[in-house]
Each structure stands twice: as C-alpha cells, then as structure tokens.
Symmetry: C2
Subunit: 219 residues, 2 copies
C-alpha cells in the first residue's frame, strides 16, 4: 500500500521521527482503536464527538440516527478530521520532564457521503459490527427493512492521513540514571472483564466462541 | 456544583435522556479518561489530536513543546472543543440493530491561554502527571529551570460542557427475546499489564507502592 502524500494538512510537525504516512500502518491503528473521535467545524466553532467506526479499504463508515447533527453535517460536503488512538502504556522516566506515554495514533482527513444502496449499507454495518466484535454479525438477527431505513450510514473516503507513535523504554538525561527512582513502562491494554449475561435469557445459553476467545486473566 | 447551561453548542440532541450537564458528572469523566481529543479549526478545516490532560477546578491543562501547532493555535484565542471518552463495555443484543456500547463521554468547549507564572505552571504539570499516575510527581526528579522553559502549558477554562452515557443490559424488541442468541454485556476496562522495569537501573529497585496498587489479575 502506498504512503499518503505529506501536505500542510497531515504533516507531523512535532517529533517527525515518530510519524508515518504508510497506509498499512494507518489502517492497523484504525482497526485496533475501538472507537474514533470525529471533529467538524460549524461557523468557526469546532466540535468533537466519539463514534464507532468500521473500515473497508480506504472507506471509513459511521452510523447513527438520520437526525444526527454530526451525520447531517458530514454529508453536507464539509471537511472532517478523525482521530484513532491506542494507548499502550505509561513511560516512567527518572525525571518528570522525560515521562511519556507509549501510543499509536492516526489522524485522517476526508469528506462524507450518505451510503444509499442497501447492499453497501449492509456491508458497512457489518464492518462496524465486526470491527467491535468479530463473529457477532453472523449470529445476531440481521437488520429488518424498517431498521435499515432507520439507520443512516455515512462513508468517509480517506483523502489524507498520518500516524504517530511511541514505543519502548524511557530515555533519561545521563546524570539522572543514578537516581534511585524506579523507571520503566507500565503497559496498558483494554481488556474484557467477566461477561454479564442478560437475565432475560435461558440461564444455560452458552457463551459464544467469539466471546470466549476474548477471555484473559482479567475476565 | 452547578449545571452547565444548555445552549445550542452543548445541547445533546440525540437520545437526550442519556445526557447530563452536571459539572460533577462531567469532571468525573474528565478525570477518569486517560487522555482527551482536542479539536480546532483553521480556515474551516477541522483538526483533531489526542493529548494528555490535567484538571484543577474548571481549568483544563495541556502541555507540549513551545513550537506545537496545536498549542500555538489554542492560545491565539480560537475556540476549541475537547472530548473525554471512557468505553465501559460492549452491549450485545439479540438483534444487530439494538447492539450498543456502554460508555461515559464528556464534550467541553472553551478557549486557551498560556500559563506564564512558574507556580501555576508547576501546579498544572503536577495535575497532568498525577492524573496519569497518582504518586509519581513526588518521587520523580522535578523539572529544572531549563526544562520548565522548554515546556509550554496551556489552560482552557471550561465555558460550556455536556456529558452523555449509557449503562446496563441490552434492550431488545419483544419478539426477539425468544431467539437463541447469547445476549448481555462484555465489560471493558483499561488495565495495567506486567510492569517492564528499565534495564538501566539496579535490578533490585523496588516497584513503587503507587504502581503496585494498580496490579490486577491482568498484571
């Protein structure tokens, strides 16, 4: 996959060594982030709103109610920016100044269009669903005609994007390494805790395999 | 603490029953979110960038390098919007349509100013540090004169804000409760995994108490 060209819009100015314009790197961050933050601007006033997303190739999909201000704004040919952020850990240096976080983030620029055709709409909803929980789409009841009509789906083609990331141990000033302060990385991860079955189902309803694979020492 | 007045800027239009304008609720979300997303607009082009934050009362603090485009923009008296989002779980309904997420989010509006005075700057940096890892500020080496000068701190007074949240089990259509599909909530939480000590320290350097309290079954 190609790089996104560097322009004044997507060029990373601070710490450019941490930047990437590689579509593959950017897509991986988009796919790993459970949600995104969408920014739009109305008469100079910026707004930022969290949203769930799906991705197919260079198309991002967002869904919501037809009356959603965000979705109405996006499809009125306004530019939007989306951020996808994964926090990987806290970086504890000996000095406050060198403290940092390990992270991977992508910032995307584009414009939206309404997804009108049923087949693309279903593929987009499947992408959003499978992004959150792979395997769920095939098991849950599919959207009815009325539900599909009550759902607005917006596609945003990625026009421009960049990624920025940090990984690895802290980096301290030479003279600080002698300080008796614990230094290192505290890895962070979003983990599934013990599933809570809905009380309104048969108590022996088995936990699906696509949920069991998410079990960890935290669950 | 009072409510933030509802205006066209902060009023939650979709599912207003999930909204809150209570400063206490909003502050709790801000304090729990490990990072925020800041949106700003330049000549109609929105940008959104992740950032670490601290809060003291109704003042939010962001820091970075003096050359940061974001910080330079914020302090030029431009309006900004910040989002703070905590993802609490996936809500699995019997139908795709009723799938949802449990979450708490706050959206804030304000304008920034540079924090010039050393005492306020240090309090702001302490707030950012203690927000990420309570207890760390007192142990790590404090910022030197040169480090303080190389750090720009911006304060954003919260002018307007709102929160939106969902919790609890899925809600399905009456006729779907009979479907043999596991339904419930998959709780999610950001957890610390096993700490990784920096190799450049004495191997017997003890893990600080303020890190040990973050240990969980995942660590």
């Amino acid at each position: 996959m190609p790089d996104y060209p560097k322009t004044s819009r997507n060029r990373v100015r601070r710490l450019p060594a941490r930047a990437s314009y590689d579509a593959k790197v950017i897509y991986e961050i988009i796919d790993e982030a459970p949600l995104c933050h969408i920014a739009f601007s109305e008469e100079g006033q910026p707004f930022v709103i969290p949203a769930l997303h799906g991705r197919l190739g260079d198309q991002l999909f967002i869904h919501g109610a037809p009356a959603s201000r965000l979705l109405q704004h996006i499809v009125a040919d306004h530019p939007v920016s989306l951020a996808f952020t994964v926090l990987d850990g806290l970086v504890l240096a000996r000095s406050i100044f060198h403290h940092s976080v390990n992270y991977r983030s992508a910032v995307v620029f584009g414009r939206g269009r309404v997804v009108e055709r049923d087949d693309e709409k279903l593929r987009a909803l499947e992408a959003i669903s499978e992004h959150l929980l792979p395997g769920r789409w095939a098991e849950a009841r599919a959207p009815s005609r009325a539900e599909l009509d009550a759902t607005k789906v917006v596609a945003i083609a990625i026009e421009s994007a960049s990624a920025k990331m940090r990984s690895g141990p802290p980096s301290d000033d030479k003279e600080d390494y002698a300080l008796p302060v614990w230094a290192g990385v505290l890895p962070l991860a979003l983990r599934m805790l013990e599933p809570i079955g809905d009380l309104r189902q048969a108590p022996d309803t088995p936990l699906p395999g696509y949920v069991r694979v998410l079990m960890s020492p935290c669950s």
